[in-house]
Amino acid sequence: MSNKVIIKIHNIYKDFQLGTFNFKSLLQKKKFEKNKLEALKNINIEINRSDRIGIIGKNGSGKSTLLKIISGVTYPTKGNIEIYGKVSSALEAGTGFNLELTGYDNIFLNGAILGINYHVIKSKIDDIIKFSELGAYISTPVKRYSSGMIIRLAFAIISYLEGDIMILDEILSVADEDFRIRCVNKIINDSKTNNRTLLFVSHDIRNIQELCNKILYLKNGEVQFYGDVKDGIDLYNKDITKI
C-alpha cells in the first residue's frame, strides 16, 4: 500500500429500493424487494493524495450516490472503500440550519454537523463572518434572512472546512457569480496549499476546468472514463451531442 493512494474503492455496488412502503409492500415482501434500482455497478478506482477530481455524468448516473458513500452518509450494498484521511463533505449548503437560531449560532451548529471542531470554529468565526459579508445581520435569526444571505452564510462555512479530503456536491452552482468565484478561489487555493484531495460534482464544465486535474465520468452507474481532464470532457461532450 503506497502512501500516494488516499481513497481506494473496491467493487462498489449500490441498490436503491423503489416503491413505497405500505400494506401491499408488506404483504408481497419478496416481490417488492426485488424492485430495485442499481445506482452503482462495480466501481473500482484509486484516488491519489492531492488530486482534484471532477465527477461528471448525466442525471441519475450515480455521481451523488458515490459521493454519499464516500462521505459515509449511505452504505454500499456490496464492496468496500478504504479511506486514509479525514473526510469533510458538503453535499448540500446549509444542512441542518435552524431558522430560529441567529446566524452566529448557526455557524457553530452547521460547523458541528459538518464535523469541524469547536476550537477551529471559534478561532475562525470572524473570518467566516467577514467572508459571508453578513457583518451587521449575524445576530439576527436566520429566518429573517433573504435566501441569498442564507446561501452566503452556508458557503462561508463550507469554505472554511478542513480535512484531507473535501467532497462538494454541486453546491457551487447556485450562488451569485461574484460570490461563486470567491468561494471557488478560496477552496482551490486552500486545497493546493494544504495538499487536499478534492472530489467535486458539477454539471458546469467551466467549474470542472477551473478546479480539477482529473475527471471521473460516470454513465449509468459505471465508470466510463477516469483520467485526464481534457480527454474526459471531450468524451462527455461527444456523448451529449450524440443525443
Binding site: V73, I83, Y84, G96, L109
Partner: protein, 282 residues
Amino acid sequence: MTIKYFRKITSKPQSLFDDLKNIFRSKFLIYEFTKKEFIGAYSQTILGPSYFIFLPLIQSVIFNFFIKNLNNNSMISGVPTFIFFLLSTTLWNYFYLSSIKNSGVFLLNRKIIIRVSVNKLIFFISSSLITLSHLIINLVILFLVIYVYRVLYGDIAIVYSLKLLLIPLIIIYILFLSLFIGIAISSISIKYRDVIYGLPFLLNMLFFLSPILYVVDSKSNFYFLFFLNPISFPLELFIWCFLDNYLVEPILILVNIIIFLFLGFFSLFFFKKVENKISDVI
C-alpha cells in the same frame, strides 16, 4: 507519513463499541444539537418551557379534583391524594415525553440524516438531555410543593430518608427505558409511520395500567398486568422512597427488569439491523 484517520466503509454497520467511541468524540455536536432543540422549541414563546414544567402540577390538581369527588377519598397510603398524584405524574410525564420525543428523532432530523454522516445514536442523546432537564426542574418543584404543603397542613407522612438516594437510579432506569422504546419505534418508523401514531395511544393505555392514580393491589385479578408493564416498578419504587410504610413486591422489580433488558436487547438489535438503510429509505 503516519495516517491519523482511517476509515473502511463496508455494507455492514459498525459495532456498538465503535458507536460509543464515536459518541464520546462528538461532544460538541451533542451540545450544539441540544442547544438547537432548546432554543428552537422555546423561541418566541412567552412562557417558554414552563408548560412542561408545570404539567405535573396542573395534572395533579385535575386528577385530585376528580378522584376526590369520585370516591370521597382524600388519602392514598396515608398521603394526601394531591401529593401522591404529583409524585407519580412527575415521573410518568418524564417517561411519556421522553418516549415520544425519542421515537420521533429520525423523522425530525431527516434532513441531516440524508446529507451528513452522523452517528444516529447522537440524536437520542440530545433529546434525552432535553427531557432530563425538564425532569430536574420538575423534581425541584415537587420538593417545593411538598415543603409548602407541610407548612400549610402540617404532617403529611412524607419522610425524607436515605431511600431518596435511589431516585437517580430510578431516573436512569426510566431514561434507558424510554431510550429503548424510542430506538425501537424510530427504527421502525423509517419504513412504517404507523408506530409514530400508535405510540401516544399505547402510552395513554399504559397510563391506566400503571400505579399512578392508585396503589397496586397484589390480590387483584389484574395483578399480572403490572408485571408486564416495565414502568410499574420505578413508579412504585419512587413513591416508596418518600413513604415510610409502603411496600414494593421484589418479584415485580425482578420481572420488570427482565422485560426491560429484553426490550433493550431487541431495540438495539433492530436498530443495528436497519441502521445502514436509514438514510436511504427514511
